[in-house]
Symmetry: C2
Subunit: 258 residues, 2 copies
DNA sequence: CGCGCATTTGAGGACTGTCAACTTCCGTGG
DNA sequence: CCACGGAAGTTGACAGTCCTCAAATGCGCG
């Protein structure tokens, strides 16, 4: 494990302010794993033996029932997952699958639970992390129950915009089918929702979404601080410049082909 | 505050195994409040200054957006709520409203946060409580996204049955309109869902629901340990006898009036 | 260049919400 | 004790939302 990776893990909310000794205990038995695209890191129902830390790549958390499947979260570095199951030493309620090649740090659950007992500050940090996760799920539930699918998409775009770069262009980091499931709809309806947003200043070209009329989109989306978390995110920022280049090349190409 | 109330609070998962001194610190500034029916204990967006412990009555947690409202949870004694906001010293994401006359213990948030810093075991207990709440919300999200409304109702009845008494009769502790919102549907559709369950051995008479064919209902509901928490609950158990009396009196009365 | 997969588009149907009328229940006041 | 009024619950008709299936299109990779 590289020193830079250690620093990134140490920078997680989960470890801020904890004693160096605690950090050493927690990460002593940890090991870094490279995982190919499409791999199942964890299946719902499995006993959870590790806390996972995503250092590179994308991971989706999903749940299944009766031959149906739904995406519950899409994770980008640096983030931890399955902390609740680790704290309770329980079985997983969600499955975890890589959406691309990933680097994942696996910390033994025992080490986490021991560190909690030894270091109050770590236990408090775990509480804060779980409290944040809890509140994220409350927001998500309100989003699902109070808004229709187009409203959810509109707010997703606004949130992504704020998290990424606050520019005119939002890049989707994953397939649209995955996004559709995350937002609680089918891929077909995601397509139609994008079309429905067009009169509100949204245009889609592949994985790039352009918001040409922010005010109009916000008028439809009605973002709410009690549902949508517009806080700028810790993770890396997708360069706006790249997006613009991608788009202009596209436009030129399609213009030429007409 | 009665001694019996103190014992009930001490019996909460949140306080099991913590030092008596910690419990004393946490509950020192607490005060018991009687609240009339329909009172708002907390409005979303408010700063949360207290951890609430419901000792008697029923409380609903709900969220609003754009003139719509949805019930997120229905609480019965003994349970705590708004712990996540207390831990983070944040504003409430949910409003709390009494559904009947209630007794609520209010513990200052400062006391909780201080107790966490002083007693690792308490911090761990808070983590476990939050982890349990988090997992409850994950279950709820899967329920919402993977099942249609009739399936949700069927599983709700099975869960209520297991939690209450595992008898043939389930008593609804609240108005059907509240249950409808909790399950993510309109009162009208809840009515229709109950009607749809009739061929599967479910009959409704006022607040009493009779499950005459458990196997048939389970065949439709397909309960899943990774979604539905069928663990027998800590709270008081509604006597089956009462339910039966209620039903037979009803039946006799309506038979006589014909 | 062509194949395979993701995405889009269209048509039809299932599920859910809205509105209105009606019934039942329950507490109030005569 | 009974009549009344209001609210909750139910039912029906209709509309909107969302899903399913099928086919077409577009795009990336070999």
């Amino acid at each position: 494990m590289r020193t830079s990776d250690i620093e990134r893990v140490k920078g997680l909310p989960l470890f801020t302010g904890v004693a160096p000794e605690t950090f050493r205990i927690a990460t002593a038995g940890a090991y870094l794993q490279r995982v190919p695209n499409g791999a199942m890191l964890l299946t719902e129902g499995d006993q959870v033996d590790f806390l996972y830390v995503l250092l590179d790549g994308t991971v989706e958390l999903h749940g299944t029932w009766n031959d149906r499947e739904t995406v519950l979260a899409i994770l980008r570095p640096v983030s931890t997952f399955i902390l609740a199951a680790v704290v309770l030493d329980a079985t997983a309620l969600m499955s975890a699958r890589t959406l691309e090649r990933c680097e994942v740090l696996m910390i033994p659950g025992d080490a986490i639970r021991t560190a909690m007992r030894l270091d109050t500050r770590f236990a408090v940090a775990v509480s804060r992390d779980l409290a944040g996760g809890y509140r994220g799920l409350v927001r998500n539930t309100k989003n699902l129950k109070l808004r229709n699918s187009t409203e959810r998409l509109a707010n997703f775009l606004l949130m992504q915009r704020a998290a990424d770069n606050a520019g005119r262009v939002v890049r989707l980091h994953h397939e649209k089918r995955v996004l559709a499931s995350l937002l609680g709809m089918t891929p077909e309806n995601l397509s139609r929702s994008f079309a429905a947003l067009q009169p509100h200043g949204v245009t889609v070209q592949g994985p790039m979404v352009t918001i040409s009329n922010l005010a109009a989109l916000e008028r439809l989306a009605k973002p709410d601080p009690l549902i949508d978390n517009h806080a700028p995110r810790g993770g890396e920022i997708i360069a706006d410049a790249d997006a613009e280049v991608w788009l202009t090349e596209r436009t030129r190409a399609s213009a030429g082909s007409r």
